[in-house]
């Protein structure tokens, strides 16, 4: 077991998979010298060469489109888009090509690629660098959507994403790059895609979340615990497929659901989870998410956007009242 950051754990997972499988490679801007936005590729070009850690032109459409072609032709590319915001420059290639090739071609093709596109707010990078569009990709048949929440998960889920034969949208949260945690280097297994993690057991309400918001939800649960409310906190980890069984079992036990995400509430994935639970169990459900505003720059404005623990606490109390 070693303590490492979320970024280091991702780097380790990638390095291990590249050592294991010579067809795994990565392409994107500034992967070589810079080593990626948070060092998640650092020094890998020295180890694997510049044809496996490929510095590309600023050509997002082609980063994504080339990954599709390379996956169709027998390799396992990781397309690094730096920000999920820039990945919007390549939505067509992801949605119209990567996600559909296997189906349109009647099963002749597989597209084993990872489209890596960090999400989330991090210190004033504002409207075009802070978005969390994970809900979009859950709506696209063919795609798998992963949102790791801890260092260990950023290694184990990345390994799973790389080994997966489907195109995986892999969304690290920029606010977590520096988060530290224990990673068991001796364990080379992947974390199965589609399995949630119960972060905290509870009985009064289930709080479902993912990515950076899991920490905030846990903080809220801690506060609530001090007031005698025992909340169960579930980290979905994978949004498609999401772990319906774990969530339904939890809500069946607690009788109430609150979904919390950093993404804008309107049209967010919280609606999917809440609606499914309401349909199946008929229990009270609620969602917290960002207001429907672009992410602002200035501290008090950015703070005004965020879902803090106190808002979660207040919402839970309302639901239990």
């Amino acid at each position: 077991m070693s303590e490492m950051t979320y970024a280091q754990a991702a780097r380790l997972g990638l390095q291990e998979e590249m050592r294991r499988d010579p067809t795994v490679w990565a392409l994107g801007e500034d992967l070589g010298y810079e080593g990626g936005m948070a060092g998640q590729y650092s020094d890998l070009q020295a180890e694997f060469g510049d044809n496996r850690i490929v510095d590309t032109p600023i050509s997002e459409s082609t980063i994504m489109g080339a990954a599709v072609g390379a996956a169709l032709a027998g390799t396992r590319p990781i397309a690094e888009l730096r920000f999920s915001d820039f990945a919007m420059c390549a939505v067509d290639e992801l949605v119209n090509q990567a996600a559909k090739a296997r189906y349109m071609f009647g099963g002749q093709a597989r597209v084993p690629m990872v489209a890596r596109m960090p999400i989330g707010i991090r210190g004033g990078i504002a409207a075009q660098h802070s978005q969390s569009p994970e809900a979009w990709y859950t709506h696209v048949p063919g795609l798998v959507v992963v949102t790791p929440g801890t260092p260990a998960e950023n290694r184990g889920l990345l390994k799973a994403a790389i080994r997966c034969d489907d195109p995986v949208v892999y969304m690290e949260h920029k606010g977590l790059w520096g988060m530290t945690g224990e990673v068991d280097e001796s364990d080379q297994s992947e974390i199965p895609l589609g399995t949630a993690r119960t972060v905290r057991d509870g009985r009064d309400i289930t709080i479902v979340s993912w990515a950076a918001q899991v920490g905030v939800a846990s903080e809220a649960a801690e506060v609530l615990a001090g007031e005698g409310v025992v909340a169960e906190v579930v980290d979905l980890r994978t949004l498609w497929p999401w772990d319906r069984e774990t969530v339904m079992a939890s809500v069946a036990k607690t009788g109430k659901l609150l979904v919390v995400h950093e993404a804008v509430r309107v049209g967010g994935f919280g609606g999917e989870v809440a609606a499914e639970v309401a349909e199946e169990l008929g229990v009270p459900v609620a969602r917290l998410g960002g207001e429907r505003i672009p992410i602002p720059f200035s501290i008090p404005l950015e703070e005004a956007y965020k879902i803090k623990a106190d808002r979660i606490v207040a919402r839970v109390k309302e639901m239990l009242a």
Partner: protein
């Protein structure tokens, strides 16, 4: 460009036959579109057959090809089975995708045909990625991408040109310049001299040829493909041609100058190749026989397609993905 082909009448005849297959396939696709057997969009390759055949005859089976919306000719030339393609157009079992894809999504991975494409220019970025995989895997395949004259104005194509040269990838871009994009005269929305000049600005060697002349296409392809296989990096061929029909089967091309299409018939590749064969040893009878044979062959596929089974609705739910796949109705999950 001189071609050895002129010394090989038998090869010309074989290529001519393939052109006839494409022509007959497209005629049948159009007819069956009009009577409602074929749905969706059908973009016919009529009048451009010499390009696909001239290029693809110079490829190996394991070379890759990416195509666009007008992909039937490219697919047949690369070796896809026209019977399976016809079944696909009819949406039947046995089609190249068992009816999941249709005309715009024909693919045959067994012969390196990585797919037609409904989105203009997306085949370009896919092709450079496939070429990167080829290099990484240490293979000596090459990748051919077909793109139209309208498609050259999409950014991803221009990115792909740069990309292909930066990594010196074994890619051949073939721009089929039929001078029109749907109903829009390409010249009116295309600045500068055109694609050859643009390609050269990326240091991608480009040559413009008469695409309706099978000999020129073949000769150029032979040279360029061998250069690419020997490491020249990407190249581009601009093949001038003419779209004899409307943009798709349900377009009467009424926007054309009167007489334009008729005049173009004199230059169309099947007539021209046929004339050469007549001068070079084949009799009219032999040629007519070949044509009848091909017509009958395609008619047979149409019959097969009519008779073939519809896919079971459950097939709509398969081959989406491994992880998080939809439940298949009627199958316990």
């Amino acid at each position: 460009m001189t071609s050895n082909l002129a010394n090989e009448p038998a090869r010309v005849a074989a290529m001519f036959r393939k052109m006839l297959v494409i022509r007959a396939f497209e005629e049948a696709a159009g007819e069956n579109f009009f009577v409602g057997h074929v749905r969706g969009s059908v973009h016919q390759y009529i009048g451009e057959e010499s390009i696909a055949v001239g290029i693809c005859e110079n490829l190996r089976d394991d070379d890759y090809l990416t195509s666009n919306h007008r992909g039937h000719g490219h697919s047949i030339a690369k070796g896809a089975d026209p019977r399976a393609m016809m079944l696909e157009l009819f949406g039947k079992v046995g089609g190249t995708s068992d009816g999941k894809g249709g005309s715009m999504h024909i693919a045959d991975f067994s012969v390196g045909m990585l797919g037609a494409n409904g989105v203009i220019a997306d085949g370009c970025t896919i092709s450079v990625g496939a070429a990167q995989a080829v290099k990484l895997l240490g293979q000596d395949r090459i990748v051919v991408n077909f793109i139209g004259d309208g498609g050259i104005n999409r950014g991803p194509f221009m990115e792909a040109l740069n990309w292909a040269k930066v990594y010196e990838l074994p890619v051949l871009f073939v721009c089929e310049n039929n001078q029109i994009a749907a109903t829009t005269t390409t010249r009116l929305v295309t600045a500068g001299e055109g694609i050859a000049k643009r390609a050269e600005s990326f240091d991608v060697p480009a040559v413009t040829i008469d695409g309706n002349d099978l000999f020129t296409v073949d000769g150029t392809a032979a040279r360029v493909i061998s250069e690419i296989r020997n490491g020249s990096g990407p190249q581009l061929i601009q093949a001038m041609t003419y779209r004899l029909r409307g943009h798709f089967a349900h377009d009467d091309a009424g926007y054309r100058e009167a007489g334009e299409a008729e005049a173009a018939l004199a230059h169309e590749p099947i007539r021209r190749t046929e004339a050469w064969l007549l001068e070079n040893g084949l009799s009219q009878d032999e040629l007519d026989g070949m044509r009848d044979e091909v017509t009958a062959e395609i008619a047979g596929y149409v019959e097969d397609a009519k008779q073939a089974d519809w896919p079971d609705p459950s097939l709509a739910f398969t081959d989406v993905q491994d992880v998080g796949a939809p439940a298949i109705p009627g199958v316990a999950s």
